[in-house]
Symmetry: C2
Subunit: 138 residues, 2 copies
Amino acid sequence: MSDLLERLRGRGWRMTAQRRVVAEVLDGDHVHLTADEVHARAVTKLPEISRATVYNTLGELVTIGEVLEVSTDKRAKRYDPNAHRPHHHLVCGQCGAIRDVHPVGNPLADLPDAERFGFTVSGVEMTYRGVCPNCATA
Amino acid sequence: MSDLLERLRGRGWRMTAQRRVVAEVLDGDHVHLTADEVHARAVTKLPEISRATVYNTLGELVTIGEVLEVSTDKRAKRYDPNAHRPHHHLVCGQCGAIRDVHPVGNPLADLPDAERFGFTVSGVEMTYRGVCPNCATA
DNA sequence: ATCCTACAATGGACAATGTCTAAGTCAAAC
DNA sequence: GTTTGACTTAGACATTGTCCATTGTAGGAT
Protein backbone atom coordinates (compact mmCIF):
# COMPACT_ATOMS: atom_id res chain seq x y z
CA MET A 1 0.00 0.00 0.00
CA SER A 2 2.96 2.28 0.44
CA ASP A 3 3.03 2.67 -3.32
CA LEU A 4 -0.51 3.99 -3.27
CA LEU A 5 0.91 7.48 -3.32
CA GLU A 6 2.96 6.55 -6.37
CA ARG A 7 -0.07 5.15 -8.14
CA LEU A 8 -2.04 8.27 -7.37
CA ARG A 9 0.74 10.47 -8.62
CA GLY A 10 0.84 8.37 -11.77
CA ARG A 11 -2.79 9.21 -12.32
CA GLY A 12 -1.96 12.88 -12.27
CA TRP A 13 -3.31 13.46 -8.81
CA ARG A 14 -2.06 16.39 -6.86
CA MET A 15 -0.39 15.15 -3.77
CA THR A 16 -1.59 17.04 -0.74
CA ALA A 17 -0.97 16.62 2.94
CA GLN A 18 -4.61 15.64 3.38
CA ARG A 19 -4.55 12.87 0.84
CA ARG A 20 -1.30 11.58 2.23
CA VAL A 21 -2.81 11.42 5.69
CA VAL A 22 -5.92 9.58 4.53
CA ALA A 23 -3.76 7.06 2.71
CA GLU A 24 -1.61 6.61 5.82
CA VAL A 25 -4.65 5.97 7.96
CA LEU A 26 -5.94 3.32 5.58
CA ASP A 27 -2.49 1.77 5.53
CA GLY A 28 -2.54 1.24 9.32
CA ASP A 29 -3.27 -2.04 11.02
CA HIS A 30 -6.91 -1.14 11.45
CA VAL A 31 -8.95 -2.18 8.50
CA HIS A 32 -12.62 -1.61 7.74
CA LEU A 33 -12.85 1.82 9.25
CA THR A 34 -15.90 3.99 8.81
CA ALA A 35 -15.50 7.37 7.14
CA ASP A 36 -15.75 9.10 10.48
CA GLU A 37 -13.17 6.80 12.01
CA VAL A 38 -10.85 7.62 9.15
CA HIS A 39 -11.52 11.26 9.81
CA ALA A 40 -10.88 10.89 13.53
CA ARG A 41 -7.53 9.24 12.92
CA ALA A 42 -6.62 11.70 10.22
CA VAL A 43 -7.29 14.58 12.58
CA THR A 44 -4.66 13.31 15.00
CA LYS A 45 -2.08 13.64 12.27
CA LEU A 46 -3.40 16.76 10.61
CA PRO A 47 -5.76 18.59 12.95
CA GLU A 48 -7.21 20.95 10.39
CA ILE A 49 -8.37 18.32 7.91
CA SER A 50 -12.07 18.63 7.22
CA ARG A 51 -14.73 15.99 7.12
CA ALA A 52 -15.64 16.86 3.56
CA THR A 53 -12.10 16.25 2.40
CA VAL A 54 -12.02 12.83 3.99
CA TYR A 55 -15.31 11.93 2.34
CA ASN A 56 -14.09 13.27 -0.99
CA THR A 57 -10.81 11.44 -0.82
CA LEU A 58 -12.41 8.17 0.22
CA GLY A 59 -14.90 8.53 -2.59
CA GLU A 60 -12.12 9.11 -5.08
CA LEU A 61 -10.17 6.13 -3.84
CA VAL A 62 -13.26 3.99 -4.22
CA THR A 63 -13.88 5.30 -7.73
CA ILE A 64 -10.43 4.39 -8.94
CA GLY A 65 -10.61 1.02 -7.24
CA GLU A 66 -7.90 1.44 -4.63
CA VAL A 67 -10.35 0.98 -1.78
CA LEU A 68 -13.58 -0.96 -1.44
CA GLU A 69 -16.76 0.09 0.25
CA VAL A 70 -18.39 -2.52 2.42
CA SER A 71 -21.71 -2.09 4.18
CA THR A 72 -21.81 -5.00 6.56
CA ASP A 73 -23.95 -3.36 9.19
CA LYS A 74 -26.80 -0.95 8.91
CA ARG A 75 -24.71 1.94 10.09
CA ALA A 76 -21.98 3.65 8.19
CA LYS A 77 -20.13 2.42 5.16
CA ARG A 78 -16.73 0.98 5.89
CA TYR A 79 -13.64 1.27 3.77
CA ASP A 80 -11.51 -1.72 2.97
CA PRO A 81 -8.03 -0.92 1.65
CA ASN A 82 -7.50 -4.55 0.68
CA ALA A 83 -8.95 -3.92 -2.76
CA HIS A 84 -6.39 -5.85 -4.76
CA ARG A 85 -7.12 -9.21 -3.21
CA PRO A 86 -10.70 -10.33 -3.71
CA HIS A 87 -12.28 -11.48 -0.49
CA HIS A 88 -15.46 -11.60 1.49
CA HIS A 89 -16.34 -10.76 5.06
CA LEU A 90 -17.18 -12.47 8.31
CA VAL A 91 -19.00 -10.23 10.77
CA CYS A 92 -19.68 -10.68 14.47
CA GLY A 93 -23.32 -9.90 15.13
CA GLN A 94 -22.54 -8.86 18.70
CA CYS A 95 -19.59 -6.50 18.49
CA GLY A 96 -19.37 -5.86 14.76
CA ALA A 97 -15.84 -7.20 14.35
CA ILE A 98 -14.98 -7.95 10.74
CA ARG A 99 -12.52 -10.46 9.32
CA ASP A 100 -11.58 -10.96 5.71
CA VAL A 101 -12.32 -14.49 4.52
CA HIS A 102 -11.74 -16.45 1.33
CA PRO A 103 -14.37 -19.11 0.75
CA VAL A 104 -13.60 -21.85 -1.73
CA GLY A 105 -15.66 -22.36 -4.85
CA ASN A 106 -17.01 -19.89 -7.35
CA PRO A 107 -20.26 -18.39 -6.13
CA LEU A 108 -20.79 -16.64 -9.45
CA ALA A 109 -21.13 -20.03 -11.11
CA ASP A 110 -23.69 -21.02 -8.49
CA LEU A 111 -26.30 -18.69 -9.89
CA PRO A 112 -28.22 -20.54 -12.58
CA ASP A 113 -29.14 -18.73 -15.77
CA ALA A 114 -32.78 -19.12 -14.88
CA GLU A 115 -32.09 -17.02 -11.79
CA ARG A 116 -30.39 -14.15 -13.58
CA PHE A 117 -33.46 -12.42 -14.98
CA GLY A 118 -31.50 -11.14 -17.93
CA PHE A 119 -29.01 -9.32 -15.72
CA THR A 120 -25.37 -9.11 -16.68
CA VAL A 121 -23.95 -10.40 -13.43
CA SER A 122 -20.52 -9.02 -12.69
CA GLY A 123 -19.75 -9.90 -9.10
CA VAL A 124 -20.95 -11.10 -5.76
CA GLU A 125 -20.39 -10.05 -2.19
CA MET A 126 -20.72 -12.57 0.58
CA THR A 127 -21.20 -11.60 4.19
CA TYR A 128 -20.95 -14.43 6.67
CA ARG A 129 -22.69 -13.78 9.97
CA GLY A 130 -21.74 -15.24 13.27
CA VAL A 131 -20.39 -14.62 16.74
CA CYS A 132 -16.72 -14.07 17.41
CA PRO A 133 -14.85 -16.02 20.12
CA ASN A 134 -14.71 -12.97 22.34
CA CYS A 135 -18.44 -12.40 22.36
CA ALA A 136 -19.19 -16.13 22.60
CA THR A 137 -17.52 -16.38 26.02
CA ALA A 138 -18.79 -13.07 27.34
CA MET B 1 -48.49 -13.24 4.72
CA SER B 2 -52.15 -12.69 5.40
CA ASP B 3 -51.77 -14.77 8.53
CA LEU B 4 -49.11 -12.42 9.78
CA LEU B 5 -51.75 -10.67 11.80
CA GLU B 6 -52.72 -14.00 13.33
CA ARG B 7 -49.15 -14.80 14.21
CA LEU B 8 -48.70 -11.41 15.82
CA ARG B 9 -51.88 -11.82 17.81
CA GLY B 10 -50.60 -15.20 18.91
CA ARG B 11 -47.55 -13.48 20.32
CA GLY B 12 -49.73 -11.27 22.46
CA TRP B 13 -49.35 -8.23 20.30
CA ARG B 14 -51.97 -5.58 20.42
CA MET B 15 -53.50 -5.26 17.01
CA THR B 16 -53.70 -1.62 16.00
CA ALA B 17 -54.69 0.08 12.79
CA GLN B 18 -51.09 1.18 12.31
CA ARG B 19 -49.65 -2.30 12.55
CA ARG B 20 -52.33 -3.64 10.27
CA VAL B 21 -51.47 -1.01 7.68
CA VAL B 22 -47.74 -1.71 7.83
CA ALA B 23 -48.42 -5.40 7.38
CA GLU B 24 -50.68 -4.67 4.42
CA VAL B 25 -48.04 -2.55 2.77
CA LEU B 26 -45.44 -5.27 3.13
CA ASP B 27 -47.93 -7.75 1.74
CA GLY B 28 -48.31 -5.77 -1.49
CA ASP B 29 -46.63 -6.60 -4.74
CA HIS B 30 -43.78 -4.25 -4.03
CA VAL B 31 -40.99 -5.93 -2.18
CA HIS B 32 -37.77 -4.53 -0.76
CA LEU B 33 -39.17 -1.19 0.26
CA THR B 34 -37.21 1.25 2.36
CA ALA B 35 -38.62 2.34 5.69
CA ASP B 36 -39.64 5.66 4.22
CA GLU B 37 -41.31 4.01 1.26
CA VAL B 38 -43.26 1.85 3.66
CA HIS B 39 -44.22 4.98 5.52
CA ALA B 40 -45.26 6.76 2.33
CA ARG B 41 -47.54 3.89 1.33
CA ALA B 42 -48.89 3.53 4.83
CA VAL B 43 -49.82 7.21 4.90
CA THR B 44 -52.09 6.75 1.91
CA LYS B 45 -54.11 4.24 3.89
CA LEU B 46 -53.85 5.86 7.29
CA PRO B 47 -52.87 9.51 6.95
CA GLU B 48 -52.04 10.12 10.57
CA ILE B 49 -49.55 7.30 10.98
CA SER B 50 -46.22 8.57 12.19
CA ARG B 51 -42.75 7.81 10.97
CA ALA B 52 -41.67 6.55 14.40
CA THR B 53 -44.44 3.98 14.42
CA VAL B 54 -43.40 2.63 11.05
CA TYR B 55 -39.80 2.35 12.20
CA ASN B 56 -40.89 0.70 15.45
CA THR B 57 -43.15 -1.77 13.72
CA LEU B 58 -40.58 -2.68 11.10
CA GLY B 59 -37.99 -3.16 13.80
CA GLU B 60 -40.32 -5.43 15.73
CA LEU B 61 -41.14 -7.46 12.66
CA VAL B 62 -37.43 -7.91 12.03
CA THR B 63 -36.81 -8.92 15.62
CA ILE B 64 -39.38 -11.68 15.54
CA GLY B 65 -38.18 -12.83 12.14
CA GLU B 66 -41.22 -12.03 10.04
CA VAL B 67 -39.28 -9.60 7.88
CA LEU B 68 -35.65 -9.38 6.84
CA GLU B 69 -33.46 -6.33 6.64
CA VAL B 70 -31.31 -6.08 3.56
CA SER B 71 -28.77 -3.35 2.95
CA THR B 72 -27.90 -3.79 -0.68
CA ASP B 73 -27.04 -0.20 -1.37
CA LYS B 74 -25.33 2.39 0.71
CA ARG B 75 -28.54 4.23 1.34
CA ALA B 76 -31.41 3.09 3.45
CA LYS B 77 -32.12 -0.36 4.78
CA ARG B 78 -34.75 -2.26 2.86
CA TYR B 79 -37.32 -4.63 4.25
CA ASP B 80 -37.96 -8.00 2.73
CA PRO B 81 -41.21 -9.69 3.75
CA ASN B 82 -40.10 -12.95 2.17
CA ALA B 83 -38.48 -14.05 5.41
CA HIS B 84 -39.73 -17.61 5.41
CA ARG B 85 -38.01 -18.61 2.20
CA PRO B 86 -34.24 -18.25 2.37
CA HIS B 87 -32.86 -16.39 -0.60
CA HIS B 88 -30.22 -13.97 -1.73
CA HIS B 89 -30.30 -10.83 -3.84
CA LEU B 90 -29.35 -9.63 -7.27
CA VAL B 91 -28.97 -5.87 -7.53
CA CYS B 92 -28.71 -3.60 -10.55
CA GLY B 93 -25.85 -1.20 -10.04
CA GLN B 94 -27.52 1.40 -12.26
CA CYS B 95 -31.08 1.66 -11.10
CA GLY B 96 -31.01 -0.31 -7.86
CA ALA B 97 -33.59 -2.88 -8.88
CA ILE B 98 -33.54 -5.95 -6.67
CA ARG B 99 -34.51 -9.54 -7.48
CA ASP B 100 -34.62 -12.48 -5.15
CA VAL B 101 -32.38 -15.30 -6.31
CA HIS B 102 -31.64 -18.82 -5.16
CA PRO B 103 -28.08 -19.94 -5.99
CA VAL B 104 -27.32 -23.62 -5.88
CA GLY B 105 -24.80 -25.08 -3.48
CA ASN B 106 -24.20 -24.43 0.17
CA PRO B 107 -22.06 -21.34 0.66
CA LEU B 108 -21.78 -22.00 4.39
CA ALA B 109 -19.85 -25.16 3.63
CA ASP B 110 -17.52 -23.18 1.38
CA LEU B 111 -15.90 -21.42 4.29
CA PRO B 112 -13.00 -23.57 5.50
CA ASP B 113 -12.43 -23.97 9.22
CA ALA B 114 -9.12 -22.19 8.83
CA GLU B 115 -11.06 -19.15 7.65
CA ARG B 116 -13.49 -19.01 10.54
CA PHE B 117 -11.21 -17.46 13.16
CA GLY B 118 -13.07 -19.24 15.94
CA PHE B 119 -16.35 -17.62 14.98
CA THR B 120 -19.60 -19.53 15.31
CA VAL B 121 -20.84 -18.97 11.79
CA SER B 122 -24.60 -18.99 11.54
CA GLY B 123 -25.47 -17.65 8.13
CA VAL B 124 -24.42 -15.91 4.99
CA GLU B 125 -25.87 -13.22 2.79
CA MET B 126 -24.96 -13.06 -0.85
CA THR B 127 -25.47 -9.99 -2.97
CA TYR B 128 -24.91 -10.46 -6.65
CA ARG B 129 -24.08 -7.28 -8.54
CA GLY B 130 -24.86 -6.60 -12.15
CA VAL B 131 -26.84 -4.58 -14.63
CA CYS B 132 -30.47 -5.27 -15.35
CA PRO B 133 -31.79 -5.67 -18.92
CA ASN B 134 -33.48 -2.30 -18.77
CA CYS B 135 -30.35 -0.38 -17.89
CA ALA B 136 -28.21 -2.45 -20.26
CA THR B 137 -30.12 -1.18 -23.28
CA ALA B 138 -30.51 2.39 -22.08
C1' DA C 1 12.98 31.79 -6.83
C1' DT C 2 8.60 33.56 -7.95
C1' DC C 3 4.24 33.66 -10.09
C1' DC C 4 -0.15 31.48 -12.01
C1' DT C 5 -3.81 28.79 -12.25
C1' DA C 6 -6.34 24.83 -12.05
C1' DC C 7 -7.36 21.72 -8.72
C1' DA C 8 -7.99 20.70 -3.83
C1' DA C 9 -9.49 21.86 1.00
C1' DT C 10 -12.40 24.18 4.08
C1' DG C 11 -16.44 24.86 6.92
C1' DG C 12 -20.87 25.23 7.36
C1' DA C 13 -25.44 24.61 5.58
C1' DC C 14 -28.26 21.11 4.01
C1' DA C 15 -30.27 16.38 3.20
C1' DA C 16 -31.42 11.67 4.28
C1' DT C 17 -32.05 8.21 7.53
C1' DG C 18 -32.81 6.65 11.94
C1' DT C 19 -33.60 7.13 17.28
C1' DC C 20 -35.55 8.88 21.41
C1' DT C 21 -38.82 10.95 24.67
C1' DA C 22 -42.78 12.86 26.95
C1' DA C 23 -47.43 13.01 26.67
C1' DG C 24 -51.67 11.46 24.88
C1' DT C 25 -54.53 7.36 23.12
C1' DC C 26 -56.68 3.10 22.81
C1' DA C 27 -57.04 -2.40 22.60
C1' DA C 28 -58.05 -5.83 25.38
C1' DA C 29 -58.85 -7.86 29.88
C1' DC C 30 -61.85 -7.61 33.63
C1' DG D 1 -67.89 0.55 31.26
C1' DT D 2 -63.33 0.98 33.63
C1' DT D 3 -58.79 0.30 33.93
C1' DT D 4 -54.19 -0.33 32.53
C1' DG D 5 -50.20 -0.48 30.28
C1' DA D 6 -48.73 -1.07 25.72
C1' DC D 7 -48.99 1.72 21.56
C1' DT D 8 -48.79 6.08 18.89
C1' DT D 9 -47.58 10.68 18.10
C1' DA D 10 -44.90 14.86 17.01
C1' DG D 11 -40.97 16.64 16.90
C1' DA D 12 -36.36 17.21 18.74
C1' DC D 13 -32.15 15.02 18.26
C1' DA D 14 -28.30 12.07 16.36
C1' DT D 15 -25.67 10.13 12.72
C1' DT D 16 -24.02 9.82 8.23
C1' DG D 17 -23.31 11.84 4.01
C1' DT D 18 -23.50 15.74 0.31
C1' DC D 19 -23.07 20.35 -1.60
C1' DC D 20 -21.23 24.80 -2.49
C1' DA D 21 -18.89 29.19 -2.24
C1' DT D 22 -14.72 30.62 -0.63
C1' DT D 23 -9.96 30.12 0.41
C1' DG D 24 -5.65 27.77 -0.13
C1' DT D 25 -1.94 25.48 -2.58
C1' DA D 26 0.81 21.99 -5.65
C1' DG D 27 3.29 21.94 -9.39
C1' DG D 28 4.32 23.71 -13.82
C1' DA D 29 5.72 27.99 -16.30
C1' DT D 30 8.62 31.90 -16.32
